[in-house]
Each structure stands twice: as structure tokens, then as C-alpha cells.
Subunit: 94 residues, 2 copies
DNA sequence: TGAACATATGAACAGTTATTCATCTGTTCA
DNA sequence: TGAACAGATGAATAACTGTTCATATGTTCA
């Protein structure tokens, strides 16, 4: 196994290794949301949400689209769901 | 979704969010290894490996068994592999 | 028992990171 | 154009984390 792949893998999991980001991603499971929707839903400041969205976007886990003044964010692809589901199964197993 | 579950999920992914731990886990894919095997294979100090193994053990991702002076570590269950495979698919996709 | 080996662990340090605050950019609409 | 709204961003701070170093614990065997 290439060392670089394992490095990238750790970088990927780092994205999911913060509860704010996990909550954001989970909130996007049902579809796209804009920044203020997310702030409200998660009781986070607009700035904190925006900072985390930038990280998630850099990591290609979410994508953004502008609609007027708002930016709507959604999950970038199915992998996000697959990875989170794999983790959820571990966490919720009894 | 229970907030606590998402918190636990982030805690789980934190385990995978460090390249030393990911390398250790991947090294254990082929079967159990003791601490010095791991140190040698990964070019890490014994102490660093041991510290990370403690974290992985607390997170129930690895289990340990003593054999004489050595401690043999192995993956705790299939979820570890499943989660890493899910991540690897994302990372190695082109 | 005591030497040698394998691993664990605590303290300290350096590097990283999430949040907050203040401010800036971008968009709409009157 | 300018006010109002939505979001982005840089700097600062506090908290967290991985590694190293030194040392302790645990095991074997002569």
C-alpha cells in the first residue's frame, strides 16, 4: 500500500473527526441547505458554519451553489453517506 | 438523530484521522502484530506506537493479547476494515 | 534473585485546530 | 446608488493532540 494513500485516508477521516462537521454533513443528508439554515438548525454562529463549510468544500465532501444572496450546500457525492453509514453502524451497534 | 450519536461518530472518525493510527490499523489488516513488529514496520518509536495503540484500544478498534514478553495487537472487529475500505474507495477513486 | 527484554506511561513541548470577533465581499431591490 | 441581507475571511485565542524523553511495569530465564 502506498504511504501517500494512507496519508490521504487520514486526511479524509479528519474531515469527519469533528462533531460540528459531522452535524453539518448529517444535516445535509436530507438535501441542500443554505448557511443560515445550517446555523439555525445546529445552533452555531454563521461564521463557524462558514469556516467548517470551507474545510468540507476543500475536502470535496460538499458542493455549493449560489441562489441570490444565499449559498446552498449539499453533499458532494455518495461516498460521504457511505462512509458515515459505515461509521454509524459501528457507533450504534449495541 | 440523537446528538450524542453524532458526537460518538465524530469521536470514532477521530481515531482514523491520524496517519500513524491509520498506518497501524492498515498494518494489522493482515493479522496480529506485536509492538516491536509495528515499530519496525512503520519506522516509529516504540513509545509512539504504544501511545497510539492505547488510544486505538480505548476506542475499541484493536484488541491485545499477551504472549510472553510481547503484546500482540489485532483489529477488534470487521467494522474497522469496513470503515477504512469505505474511505479508501473515496481516496483512491480517480 | 537479577539481568535482559518488551511494553506502558507520565510530563513536557510543539504543532494543529475550532471558535469568536470584526470586517469585507457579493447580491438584491427600492 | 445605497441600504439591507447572506456569506466569506483573517487574526487571535484557547484547547487539543502526537511525539519524545525518561522511567516504570511486567515477563522470562539463567
Amino acid at each position: 500500500m502506498d504511504e501517500e494513500v494512507l496519508y490521504d485516508l487520514a486526511e479524509l477521516f479528519k474531515m469527519f473527526g469533528d462533531s460540528s462537521r459531522v452535524r453539518i454533513l448529517y444535516a445535509l443528508f436530507d438535501g441542500e441547505l443554505n448557511v443560515s439554515d445550517l446555523s439555525d438548525a445546529l445552533s452555531m454562529t454563521q461564521s463557524a458554519v462558514s469556516h467548517q463549510l470551507r474545510i468540507l468544500k476543500q475536502g470535496k465532501l460538499v458542493k455549493a451553489r449560489r441562489e441570490g444572496k444565499s449559498m446552498y450546500y449539499s453533499l458532494a457525492d455518495d461516498h460521504v453517506r457511505i462512509i458515515m453509514d459505515a461509521g454509524l453502524e459501528h457507533v450504534t451497534e449495541e
